[in-house]
């Protein structure tokens, strides 16, 4: 029986419950429910299906460890607008969906990238947490980066168990990752400042259809190459035998370096803490003579061309041959960009007396010392260089990125792709890197100044001045700016 004494607290309790209940009910209407979904479901909803088990396993690890990253979850990654970076960006949402880390990709053309990143790093502004660097620019950046080994030690619990520096292509790691670079794979010393990100390598692009129609084989050495150029140059029909990168300082130097190595010469030698210009040797003189002998059969507009414009001439069907960066190969078979779809083939460069050599300018990504998002940037960098990620980048039709991780090459999908014509350029670069037949320019301090001087004298030789005299004067002017210390 309810007495008056009992009734009062009961009624008060009911009233309080009613008040709280009604308020809670109103508030609940305004909040959304929390849904719990697996990472695989989240990725599938974003259209990311068919991902490999290994990659998913890595993403699940990322999802778990990224919870430990408290502060600093917005790393800014500065990359150059080249095919590897753009392909990475296309799948970068995987990293975001797995970790919730809001990484920002700041992708710019090379000259803008260098000036933007160096100016902010130089004044100590922590705008970028990870920065891509061309191998020959590393001297400009080295003091701003934390060695990767230190990062691995500092963030042991944020380092993937299967991450292994030894799995990176040894050539790419030694010439791009290690500073000072190791020109020989078995050399000791140096620390890893950059993780190799891409491996731009120059190879021989040629029109397969033209050679098939003529019943000829492509040239094997520079002598045959020039003979073929003579035969194929038909300016009256709007077709030139080739085009050259004479308009760009970096372009003409890197293009020539393929010849220089094949004749047994060197433009620079890496000494103990100093880079010596040695480009006045007989071998380099001979290489430059052969290089300039191509001029009569090249598109005369080569005087204003760089690698982009040579690639454009190739994909528009205006030239038959090009010594060009493999990164452009994907464009040749893109119907939206190319008039020579399925007509271009790839091979090693023509050989000189010392064999066939290929200019290599890899780039890598370093972690900035004063970064406020270092742990998040480290997770991002592991994702960007992880084997599963790299398999997708290689198979990406719009990039065909050369693998920088050795394990990528053991993947069945990659092995199968490398046998297909569309991936012929990747196969050629793989063979080049495996054989170590690379031409290389060491990390130059004041690189812009040195390239400017070299471009000036090489263009003069290309236009007809004496190669020996041009190279002697080039060396003297480079020496006049002081020792190239690194």
């Amino acid at each position: 029986m309810i007495t008056r004494r009992k009734a009062v607290p009961l009624i008060a309790g009911a009233a309080a419950a009613a008040v709280l209940g009604s308020y809670g009910l109103l508030m609940a209407r305004n909040s959304s429910g929390i849904q719990s979904r697996s990472l695989r479901e989240v990725l599938e909803e974003a259209g990311r299906t068919g991902l490999s088990d290994r990659y998913l396993e890595f993403l699940e690890w990322l999802a778990e460890v990224s919870k430990k990253v408290g502060e600093g979850r917005e790393p800014t990654i500065a990359l150059m607008s080249e095919s590897t970076a753009l392909a990475t960006q296309r799948i970068e949402r995987d990293f975001y969906l797995a970790t919730g880390i809001n990484s920002k990709l700041d992708i710019s053309p090379y000259p803008v990238h260098v000036s933007k990143t160096l100016s902010s790093l130089g004044v100590g502004a922590s705008i970028h947490d990870a920065v891509a660097v061309e191998s020959f620019d590393i001297t400009l950046y080295s003091r701003f980066f934390t060695p990767i080994e230190e990062v691995m030690e500092k963030f042991r619990d944020l380092t993937y168990g299967r991450f292994n520096l030894q799995d990176f292509n040894p050539l790419a790691l030694n010439l791009v990752g290690v500073y000072p670079p190791r020109e020989k794979v078995d050399t000791a010393g140096g620390t890893v400042l950059l993780l190799p990100f891409s491996s731009p390598t120059m190879i021989h692009f040629y029109r397969r259809d033209v050679y098939e129609q003529a019943g000829m084989n492509p040239p094997e050495d520079w002598e045959q190459y020039i003979e073929d150029l003579k035969m194929l140059n038909k300016p009256g029909e709007g077709v030139f035998a080739t085009a050259m990168q004479v308009g760009s300082d970096v372009g003409i130097v890197t293009e020539l370096n393929n010849f220089v190595y094949s004749f047994g010469g060197r433009l620079f030698e890496l000494g103990d803490g100093v880079i010596e210009p040695v480009m006045d040797s007989d071998e380099v003189v001979e290489a430059l003579r052969v290089y300039t002998a191509i001029r009569p059969y090249a598109d005369p507009a080569s005087i204003s061309y760089d690698w982009d414009t040579v690639a454009t001439a190739m994909r528009r069907g205006r030239i038959i041959h090009a010594i060009l960066w493999q990164d452009f190969a994907w464009m040749m078979d893109d119907p939206a960009r190319s008039m020579v779809v399925n007509k271009v083939a790839y091979k090693k460069n023509p050989a000189g007396p010392m064999g066939s050599f290929h200019q290599f300018v890899g780039d890598g990504v370093g972690l900035v010392k004063n970064s406020k998002n270092l742990s998040a940037a480290w997770l991002w960098l592991q994702w960007a260089t992880e084997v599963g990620t790299r398999i997708m980048l290689t198979l990406d039709e719009k990039s065909k990125v050369v693998p920088v991780r050795m394990s990528v090459l053991t993947d069945p999908s990659i092995q199968s792709a490398l046998n297909r014509h569309e991936f012929g350029s990747v196969q050629v670069v793989k063979e080049v890197l495996d054989s170590g037949q690379v031409a290389y320019i060491p990390p130059l301090p004041r690189a812009n100044q040195v390239f400017f001087i070299m471009g000036k004298y090489l263009r003069s030789a290309w236009a007809g001045s004496d190669p020996r005299k041009a190279l002697k004067e080039m060396k003297r002017e480079i020496e006049s700016i002081g020792p190239l210390l690194y």
Partner: protein, 170 residues
């Protein structure tokens, strides 16, 4: 020069309490540019909230030149965001629901071999409806407590009166 494809993913509350802020999260993906274009150098996203009778309750624009949203180049594949913006609608405009529209503007560039932009094109701005938001009239805590207490007092009086009546009957 071809078609560009942008994808805007918006996280929008179904309801907003009248008097409160409206928080909208968005991410813009640049999925595709025509082959001849290299990047988008300027994007602007404008959110417009309209009442049932078409009056503007709020408008907010963000673009990639604003410091907090800054990015210089957007190449195909770029993810801009997620960002969360706060909008304060004009609640003096009476409406039980509001419609959110978003307008996208962009400038797309072709660059020369040195990376210098040489041709800028401005595709026609596109406006699309995003969704409807219910404007909820919620009693604030004080009013809710006052109302609840007055109901409780009324119920107490009623029950006390019934107990008293039952006792008297017994």
């Amino acid at each position: 020069m071809g078609t560009s494809k942008y994808r805007l993913v918006i996280d929008l509350p179904r309801e907003v309490v009248v008097g409160g802020e409206l928080k909208i999260s968005f991410t813009l993906y640049l999925d595709e540019l025509p082959p001849l274009k290299h990047y988008s150098g300027y994007v602007s996203v404008t959110f417009t909230l309209l009442s049932e009778d078409g009056r503007t309750m709020a408008r907010k624009t963000v673009n990639n030149h604003i410091q907090d949203y800054k990015v210089d180049y957007m190449y195909p594949g770029h993810r801009w965001g997620p960002y969360t913006i706060t909008i304060n609608p004009d609640y003096s405009i009476s409406s039980s629901r509001a419609q959110l529209y978003v307008t996208l503007e962009s400038e797309e560039y072709v660059e020369d071999p040195l990376g210098i932009p040489v041709i800028a094109t401005r595709p026609n701005p596109t406006t699309v409806p995003v969704g409807e938001i219910v404007l909820v009239q919620v009693f604030p805590l004080f009013e809710t407590v006052a109302l609840g207490l007055s109901v409780a007092v009324a119920v107490s009086i009623l029950m006390y009166w019934r107990i008293k009546v039952r006792k008297r009957t017994v």
